[in-house]
Every structure is written in C-alpha cells, then in structure tokens.
Amino acid sequence: MTSLLAKSGLQLILVLLVAPFLSGIIKTLKARLQNRRGPNILQFYRDIFKLFRKGMVIPGTASWIFSATPYIVFVTAALVGLMIPMTATDAPLSLFGGVLAVVYLLALGRFFQALGGLDAGSSFGGLGSSREMTISAIAEPAMMLAIFTVALAASSTNLSEMAKVAVSQSWKFLAPSQMLAFAALFIVLIAETGRIPVDNPATHLELTMIHEAMILEYSGPYLALIEYGASIKQLVLMTLVVNTFFPFGLSSSWTMRGLGLGLVFYLIKMLLLSCLIVLVETTNAKLRLFRVPELLMVSFIFGALALISTFLF
C-alpha cells in the first residue's frame, strides 16, 4: 500500500514536471525548424504559473458544469499519467485498469471539456466541441485497432503486461505488424493532441481552431488547469506510443538506478518522438476539417493491415 502511494507520488511528480517541459521543447524545436528563435523551453511553466495567479471571469450564462470541467480534465489526465509505464514496466496504478481504461478516461475528460465548451452558450464553444467530438469519434476506431494489434501480441490489455512482453522480445517492433500499428497510432496521436495537420494549437482563427475554440471562455486558473491537463494528455499518449513500440531501457523494477537509467532512455525516446512530430508539423499544412476523415481512414487501414499481418506472419 505504502509502496503503491510512493510509486504513484513519484510518477505524479514526474508527470507534472515533464509534461510542460515536453510541450516547451516541441514549441522550441518547431520554431528552430522554421528559423525562428522561439520561446524559451521553460516558457510553458511560466505561462501556467502566470495563469494560476490571475483572476478569472466566468460567463454569466455558464452553469456549474463550466467550473467542474477544468478539474475533471486535469484529474483524468493526471490519473491516466499514473496508469501507464513511464520508466518502469509496471506502472504504479496499472492494477486500476489497462489501456482501455486509459482511453476511456481520456474520453471522460473530453466529454466534459465539450460540455464546458457548450456551457457558455457562445457559438465558438459549440463549434469547438462539435469538431472535437467529431474528430475524436472518427479517430477512435483506428486507435482501438492499433491498440488491439499490440494487445493481441501480448494477449492482454494490461499496459504493464504489454510492456513486459515488449521488453522480453525487444526487437519485435521490426515486425511489419508493429510498424503498421505504430504508423496508425502515430496518426491518431497527431489527431488526438490537436496538432497540424489536424488542428493548429497556435491559431485562434475560428474557422480552423478546434481545441482552442472549446476553451475560449476560460481564463485564469481554470485555463491553466485545462492547458496543464492537455499537455499531460499529450505526454501520456506519446509515452504510450513510445513504451509500447520501443520499450528500450524500461526498468523491470523500481530500483533507484533502474529508474534513473529508465528516465534517461525515456527522455531520449520522447525527444526523438517529438522531433518526428515537429517534423510532420512543419512539413505539412493544416487540412480542411472534412479532409481529416481521409487521414484517419488511412490510419484505420494501417491498423487493419497490421492486424491482418499479425496473423499472416
């Protein structure tokens, strides 16, 4: 019990620290790639801190849903952060639920975020939540299919199990099925974290924005919570991809040096993944909303192929 608390405390801190850092890194890398200096890597921490210290205006038209949403978004994201293996194969709360629970907890957060978007009554909020729900809905099957492919390899949906299996046969990721699944999951990752070519986190043009439109009415600490939750969610998804496909250096136990080593490996892997993301973001233009399904269809096809290839090869 105490060990459980200790582990989760440790990983919680890790999550809370790393998530903004990662967002900052991605921002900076992106700027660099576009020959800008870009913000400081720690800018995201500053923003969060600043927002927490500001006051906020709650729309008069909003109900308690509006105020409950930020907490729910943050909490679900944080809990998910504790349910996935980051540095060690067995996640602190892996007993609480496997990958399905992770996906559905994120869905819970999204559900309330969409409600929060509608609550203020402004048409932008509604627009945002409509698009968010739509895209996540059509992203879902592809994601599930890719996850299934991995889960079938481990014959379990328990993330720790999956990680253990992955570690035990660490070159398996070269198998075509795994590659295809990775491609599928990567596309889903782009869609879910609201990045180009699906969504542009940097814009506030009402025609293009999705996630930003939803949280348009939020300000101050609530906004901070939501942004923080979003970046944790991004961290979680990236970790999921990284650790299921490239489980190098995942320590099999919670010893000090195992964790240290695991952390180093983990950060390197995350860095590489974010480089990949940045590369995609800078080399692509944002798609029209109604082109997004085609992209996700591609990822669905990848998932299906991955599945078929698992039982061909």
Partner: protein
C-alpha cells in the same frame, strides 16, 4: 439455503399486478384514488418481484412449478431459474422506479384522460413481462408475448388523437404480429420434434434436431426476437413507437420490453436449440455491430430528444448482441470460459442499458412535462431551472456513453475483453472479425459520447431557446425520487461492479455448464479481470477513489495561487462579439453538421436555405434553413415492399367486379376442371 420462498413471492407479485389492473379499471371514475392505487399496486408488485428475483439468485437451484389448464398444449408452468431471476430483477427495478415516477407524472392525466384504463394496460404490461421471463411452456410464453405486444400497442397509441401516434402504433403492432408469427412457427417446429410444449422437452429434443431444422428454427427465432429487440434492419418501428408513448411508458418500452427479445435469444439459443453452429453466432455478432453503428449514427441526426434516445436503444441492443454473438461463437468453438465472459458482458449490459435508458427517458419525460417540447432546438438552459433532473440526466448520459467509472463502462469493457479473446479462440478469417468488431464498438462508443454531449449540452446548458424552456420548472418530487433511484443504481452498478458480477456464476453455470474462473474478481474483490491469468484488469471503484484523491492537488493549485483575485461573473467573451443571445447560440443541427457531412453517403442529407431580403442582398431579413436526412431503410426497403403489396391487392380486387356472369363462370370453370382432372384416381 434451499428454503427461500421464491414461488410464493413471485406469485404474490403477479397477483399484485393483476389486482392492480382490475382495481385501477374499477376506480377509473375517481382519478386521484385511481392514481394512487395504480402506482401503489405496481410498486408492491415490483417489490415482491424484486424479492423473488433476489431469492432466486441467492439459491442457485431453479424453482419449477406447473398448474395444468383444460386446454391442450397449455399449462401454467413456470421455471424460475437463474436467467429468469436475472431478468425479473431488471424488471422489478424498472417497475419500481417507474411506478414511483408515475405517481406525480399521471397527475396531469386527471380530468383529461382515463387513468383507470392506463393503469389497466400498465399493470398488464408488467404482468405479461413477468410471465414471459418465467414461462416454461411455449403456449404460455406465446400468450404472454402477444399480450405484451397488444398492451404496449395500447400504451403507444394512448395519445391516439394525433395521426403520427396512430401510425406509429399500427406500425408497431404489425411488426409485433409478424414476429409473433415467426415465434409461432418456431415453436410449432420445436413441438413437432419434442411432441410437447414444455421448454424442458425442447431441451431434450434439441439433440434430435437435424442441422437443417436447427438452422430454420434459429433463423425463425432470430428474426422474431430481432424484431422485438429492434435490431437493424427490423428497427423501423422502434424510433416511431417509443417517442410517442407517454414518457414513463417509453422508459419501460425501451428499458425492458426490448429486453424481452434479448431474453428470448438467451433462452432459446443457449438453452433450447442445443449447441448452435458458429455461423449463427457470427450472424448475431454482425447484426449486432450493424445495429450498434447505424443506431448511433441515426441517433446523432435526431433533434427530437425522445427519438434520439430510441435510436440509442437500437445501438445498445447492438452492443448486447455483440456480446451474445461472441458467446455463441465461443460455445460452438468449445471455449465455455470465454463464452461465459461474453455472456456476462451481454447480460450485464442488458441490465445497465435497462437502467440508464429508463433513467434518460424519465429525464426526457420530466423535460417534456415542464416544457411541453421534445424538440431540442426549443430547449436549453434547463440546468438552472431544473437542476436535479439535469444532474440525473447527466449521470445517465455519462453512463450510456460508456465512460468510467459508471456501469456502462464496465459492460463495454467486458465486451472488449471477450472480443479480444475471440481473436485467439477462433481460427481462419473469422478471427479478424473480432478486432474489427472491437474497433466498430469503439466508434460506437465515441459517437455515443458525441451524441450525448449534444443531447445534454443543447438541452440543459447555455441559454433557453424558447419561452417554454425559459419558464420551465423542476419536476415534482416523486418524479425526482423515481429518477434518483435509477441514478443511484447507475453509480452503484458502476463502482460496485466487482461485488455485483458474481451473481452471474449460477447463470453461466446453468446455461454454459461453467463459471468464469475464480479470478473473475481479484485483489480482495476490488479488481475485475477476465478470468484469464494475463488478461486485462480494471477497477472502477479504485479509479473513482483515485480521481477524488487527485482532486486534492488540483483544488490546492487553484485555491492557493488564485486566491488574491476574486472570480467574477461577467458576460461571455465570445471573441468579443457583444450581446450573446439565444439567436446566435450553437444549435443541435449545427452540432451534428460535421458528422452529417462526413457520413453523407449514409444520410443522403438534403437541405434548403431561403433568405428573405428587404433592402439589399447583403442584409437578409430572415433566413429559413431546413435540412433532413433520408431514412434509408424506410425508403429503400419497407416503402417499396408496402407499395408492391398494395398494388397487387388492388389488382386482385378486379375479381370482385360485380358481374354475376363472372361469378358463375368461376364456379363453372372450377367444376369442369375438377370433373376432368379430379375424378380419375
């Protein structure tokens, strides 16, 4: 503990329903009294029924008793086994909640409608359901089945003044009679083999069924129960009939009457027809997937709150069938363990759907009750005027979207697990079907979430869109209590799933001859697993607790840091546009626009926009926008069928053209033909 009085308590509940029916019919002249009698006796019946069901579950041995009647084939024989007690439990929960709810819901009938007749039908519905779930005699089952259909017709057509209601009722009763016909043929076939109308004899006769007979019987029963459960493509009656009924009845219809179809499938496919070949299971699975996806897709396009819920019933029935189909396939492939998991998934989802769909319909009922409108475009902002209803509806919405930690999540999780297991358990190309079905299930879940964001957000949040919704009022107490019970049930079944699920052990043991491995529940009853050593794990209770724990840092962050500035309320920023009002709110139509475009292949949407200008084309005075989607099945399948039938009928009426010479000629020709061909041996 073999001495629990299952039979007597059950009989008591039947008696309560029967007396309730007669009493409310007798007292129809005194509406208030009649109302109390109606709801009271229904509640009493529900309580007795609930006790009987609990007893039946506790003592895991079936209770059978039979009373003969003078009529051939027909005996009042009951078999109160695990399956029966499970469905009776579901019935009892819903009946109790609805009868509490109705106490003040029926108040508006007083003086306007005949409460006595309503109560009569209401009780008969409950009675027939109890009989259907318990009958062990084909003939008794048939009678219960058809009475159920006729009575629900009476209730659907209760507001018979308006045309839509009458049409819906007739569509319903005709479909119901078609399925009764299939049922009749199926039972006649089984009786032909077994020589008796008792279910017990079917069990023994199942071994003598030739594979052809088995297939025919399966198809007959599947189409029958499919129609009753409203699976695609037999669903057309459902979204027509359920919304037009009084709301408490819609709740029962969607909550439990549909489940009669599920009960029939479970009873016949797992119990009556022997081990079905795996194609049967796959058929059920595929139909389930189709119903789930199409059901939710159609639901998304609905702006009539109750019809939206009705389409969601189709979706959830689909999810249940996925589990059931998987169970059948595993049974055929000889994996009773997996079959048990899949069956538990299906039945648990049956119970969950019964509860939250009933809850949602009751919520919609109280919205309708206070705003007189089912059209979401006229609602909005009700969370302020009717907070309790809104909260209950929200819980129901979260549950039906299958989000943790509520009950919908648990059953969908189980379904996923069994589908995953299916990949390993079956061979050939069929194994691919399972993960694909899983991904379609995921799509369904996500779309359902989107749909309920719309339903709740547009109905309860933001600004009221009409005078009625502006002047809405909270529902009277008993309606709130009724909804409250179901809300509590949703949460309890979600968090307490691990404590509740073991009740299925007896059931799986009876139907599949096995119980899910002892480690269905692990970690001191906190964690739910799939019974396989390395399978998935989940613990909703733990998740809930963890969420609460994690709330601490969040609250801490907000309250500590943001203390010095007060949180003020102000007008919505809305990108700086002034004067936010209901005119420029987001509408339900707009919300579903994106999906309407994406799935336009299915919907074939049609829209027309007329703008009225007075000065210049840049300043329209009024814009009339209307958009509709094509009801594919009605238009492509049923309409042509109906037209064909009527055309043939109209042609044939030429026989009776009034000419006596023609009439004589018919007889003459018949006579001559028979003389020429009939006489020779």
């Amino acid at each position: 503990m073999n001495t629990l009085p299952v039979g007597p308590t059950f009989t008591l509940s039947l008696a309560a329903y029967l007396t309730g029916a007669l009493a409310s019919l007798a007292t129809w002249r005194k509406p208030a009294l009649c109302r109390y009698i109606c709801c009271g006796s229904a509640l009493a019946g529900a309580i007795f029924g609930g006790f009987a069901a609990v007893f039946g579950i506790l003592q895991s041995t079936p209770v059978r008793w039979s009373v003969s009647s003078g009529i051939p084939f027909f005996s009042y024989s009951f078999d109160y086994d695990a399956l029966a007690s499970f469905f009776n439990l579901t019935l009892a929960i819903l009946a109790g909640a609805v009868s509490i709810y109705s106490l003040s819901y029926l108040k508006e009938f007083e003086g306007k409608r005949n409460i006595g007749f309503f109560g009569f039908l209401f009780h008969l519905l409950l009675l027939s359901l109890a009989i259907v779930f318990t009958a062990a005699n084909a003939f008794l089952f048939l009678i219960g089945w058809e009475v159920m259909a006729l009575v629900s017709y009476g209730l659907v057509a209760f507001y018979h003044e308006d045309r839509e209601t009458r049409r819906a009722g007739l569509l319903y009763i005709v479909m119901a009679h078609v399925d009764a016909g299939c049922l009749l043929l199926g039972f006649a076939l089984l009786m032909q083999v077994s020589g008796s109308a008792e279910f017990a004899s079917f069990r023994s006769a199942a071994l003598q069924l030739s594979s052809g007979q088995q297939a025919i019987a399966f198809l007959l029963f599947f189409s029958c129960f499919g129609i009753k459960a409203g699976v695609i493509p037999f669903h057309i009656w459902l979204p027509a009939a359920h919304p037009v009924a009084p709301s408490n009845i819609s709740a029962l219809l969607s909550g439990i009457v549909l489940k009669a179809g599920i009960y029939g499938m479970a009873r016949i496919f797992l119990d009556g027809l022997g081990v079905l070949p795996s194609w049967a299971g796959l058929l059920v699975l595929i139909v389930g997937v189709a119903s789930a996806v199409l059901g939710v897709l159609y639901a998304l396009m609905e702006h009539d709150l109750k019809r939206l819920l009705a389409y969601h019933s189709i979706e959830n029935i689909g999810i249940i069938l996925i589990g059931l189909g998987a169970a059948l396939v595993f049974r055929a492939a000889g994996h009773p363990q997996l079959a048990a998991v899949a069956l538990i998934a299906a039945l648990f989802h049956t119970l969950n759907h019964a509860i939250f769909k009933c809850l949602l319909f009751l919520g919609a009922g109280s919205v309708l009750h206070s705003t007189r409108s089912r059209n979401m475009e006229e609602l909005g902002g009700l969370i302020r005027t009717m907070p309790v209803t809104a909260f209950c509806f929200l819980i129901g919405a979260v549950a039906i979207s299958g989000l943790p930690p509520l009950n919908g999540f648990v059953s969908e999780w189980l379904t996923y697990q069994s589908l995953l297991a299916g990949f390993g358990a079956t061979g050939g190309l069929t194994r691919i079907l399972f993960p694909l079905a899983g991904s379609m299930l995921a799509l369904t879940g996500a779309l359902a979430a989107a749909c309920f964001v719309k339903a709740f957000g547009i109905t309860f949040l933001a600004l009221p869109r009409s005078a009625e919704s502006r002047s809405a009022h909270e529902a009277p107490r008993s309606m709130l209590v009724g909804m409250g019970c179901l809300t509590v049930a949703c949460v309890a079944l979600g968090l307490g799933a691990t404590w509740f699920l073991p009740m299925f052990h007896a059931l799986t043991e009876q139907l599949l001859g096995t119980r899910v491995g002892a480690n269905l529940i692990t970690a001191h009853g906190w964690v739910l697993s799939t019974g396989t050593p390395h399978g998935g794990l989940v613990s909703t209770a733990a998740i809930a607790i963890a969420l609460l724990f994690l709330l601490i840092p969040a609250v801490f962050l907000v309250s500590i840091t943001g203390r010095q500035f007060a949180r003020k309320r102000g007008p919505a920023w809305d990108c700086g546009l002034p004067g936010l009002s209901e005119e420029n709110e987001y509408t339900a139509t707009a919300f579903s626009k994106a999906l309407r475009m994406i799935f336009s292949v299915l919907y074939q949407p049609r829209r027309e926009i007329q703008a009225v200008f007075d000065v210049s084309p840049y300043f329209p005075k009024a814009i009339h926008f209307e958009s509709e989607i094509e009801p594919t099945f009605e238009k492509r399948l049923y309409e042509p069928l109906k037209d064909l039938l009527l055309r043939i009928a109209t042609r044939m009426r030429a026989i009776q053209a009034g000419s006596i010479h023609a009439y004589l000629a018919y007889i003459f020709i018949t006579l001559v033909l028979l003389l020429l061909f009939g006489v020779r041996p």
